[in-house]
Amino acid sequence: MAIKTQPVTVNLGPQHPSTHGVFRMRVMFDGEEIVDVEPVFGYLHRGSEKLAEERTYTQIVTLTDRMDYVSSMLNNQAYILAVEKLAGIEPSPRGVWLRMIASELQRIASHLVATGFLLQDLGALGTPLIYAMRERENILDLFEMLCGARITNSYLRPGGVFMDAPAEFWPALDRGLDDIVNTIDELETYLSGNEIVFSRTKGTAVLPPELLINASVTGPMLRASGVDWDLRHRAPYDYYDKISFERKLHTASDNYARYWVRVQEARESVKIIRQCIEQIEPGEVRPSFDDVPRLIRPPAGDAYAAIEGSKGELGFYLVSDGGIAPYRMHVRASSLINLTLLRDMLIGGQFGDLFVTFGSVDLNMGEVDR
């Protein structure tokens, strides 16, 4: 006797513990297998891009903090680069080195959070997450020394940063980098060789590199498929052309490869910061107010600047009509663009892998919905 079966549609989110914020998916299941996924965006939309049209160029820095709230420094950096390009500002060298150090620290913090939450989605009851978060706390302490804030830093200004690092920052940074390396070693000991982690993530949600390129996916997701694409190397901004680092690649393009690339990139970031510390020289951290006034009036025109964010290419497009506020601001949010392949990753997979795959994208709803 044939048993009559039919797929079941289940609503997951927006109030679901694993949606990394407020994301909603209508998922159709055939048993444990996913037949169809319909993502529903927009629950965290705050209109950041529209708000920017009402604020001066310096004030917008605070808005960018709140987009991807686990990598505020990187958002700051991308936005500031766009403003500098738009207004033709020549940044101070020390300011550039400082913001490179800050953004690389933020990259490590973001990758640690991504790894911790991936393990949380895998079902480890908080322990790896808290280990990762504990190390992130040390990085946030360093940020507190730099600018007094921990999450929403607003540290960067057009032309550099708003204040120099205090004297006690440098020994603390040195110790912090050693700690980070130790933590990554520890995480890798527990996770990379863990049979459950490996069997759950290997070979799941495989994406071919061609598909990733056509969908303009960037960042660790792309590098996990073997495509050597890192803006720090391909189109160096700030002083990344004075820095040498390895681009870590993996060909499997599955959930494990994405995890692996993030962990290795965090290691590379430590090396980059060490090179920054060697090359940084005393000086002003931003141009004087005669050169770069508080109220910037860029000439009419537009500019797009992109950096290698923690999640991919993070770009800011600014249009100026010559006024004190941008006429239009648009953000190329890497989380949103990386999420466009959600259906390709999930359909045909298992329910148990749904949120793991979702977590391996390393998305941040603050950036997706803005």
Partner: protein
Amino acid sequence: MNHLFLDNSLWRNIYCVLAGESAECAARDYSSGFLPGGMEWLAFLLAAAAIIGIVINAVLGGVIVLIWGERRLFGRFQSRTGPNRWGPFGTLTSVADAVKTMFKEDLVPAEADRILFNLAPVLIAAPALLVFSVIPFGVGTYVADLNVGVLFIMAVTSLTTLAVLTAAWSSANRIAILSALRSVALLISYEIPMALALVGVIMLAGSMALGDIIAAQGIPFILVQPLGFFVFFIAAMAEMARAPFDLTEAESELAAGYLNDYASMKFGLFFLAEFMAELSTSAIVTTLFLSGWKGFDPIPSHFWFAAKLIAVLFVIIWFRMTLPRLRVDQVLKFAWKGLFELTMINIIVTAVLIAIWPQPTTGQLWIMAAINWPVAIISIWGVSKLLGTPAYENSQPSADAPTYPVASESIPAASVLGADKGGD
């Protein structure tokens, strides 16, 4: 009755305090009881009720302590303090939680089947308690020593799944149904290796009564039956749906699974049953594999039982804190392709050894242990090789891997920052 009288000191003491001039009590220096002569039947009933009351309250008290201990241990594992506000070392946190749970609004979904919805919490709590009726907590301290004790445990622990299915079905929630179906799949798969893992123990003891099994353990059966212990422990973890097998609750997937629509003390009963299952599993492992209440003399048997129980609980909590969850298909594959084979190897090896030494003495048990350990290690290694995930063969890209066009070629140079600096 005679059986109860000879062995069950808990029952005997209460009975003799109550009963009048009965022959059995007189022989054991109990001159007279509270009840007049001829009322022994009432003493019998009251004694039984008193024992059940003592055991239920001990278990519930144990659960309160366990919840506190588990949360404290979680804190230690996660490099934080854990509950420490209410009472010394946070010991009263569970009490506060219980009070809070009782005063919550008792919600029933509009589309729920009310009768089944209200029945499910009872269905899950009752079997969790029933298991303790056959566990010997110390010398002569048990409710009943059934001659089919092991079978009784297996039967009663499976009832949990019925309650889970009832809860999920009655709450008319699709996520809950998914969770319940996983629960049934787990039960069907893990009940078999769990039962087969105990066959070795039953063969060694020659009895299914827990009292006889403890008596037969000249050395703890964990030494004689390492494979049986390994399989039973894993299967029991799966049976009570603890991490890494917490597929039914799977917080990161199903939110709370079959518990999604439960609130107030109905949720509290499920919660209680979950921890009672943890306690009962540890008690079963202690009894069957760690020689129960046996120990050396100056320390009373009940303390030995408690100490071994706590050790097993620690390991369960440790696993739960450390390991991520397995996927459903992997869990089922592991049961059928891994654990089932291991139990078969164990049964064959044990059967051969029993054929050589039908009633093993302690010395012969040591010899069996010496044979069983290499068998266990080799077979577990073999299964892990067969079922383990192979590593990547080559994870580094070749030179002709596809890539984005370089910024200066087809993307307008002005749109990419720093394109004039050269890039690649």
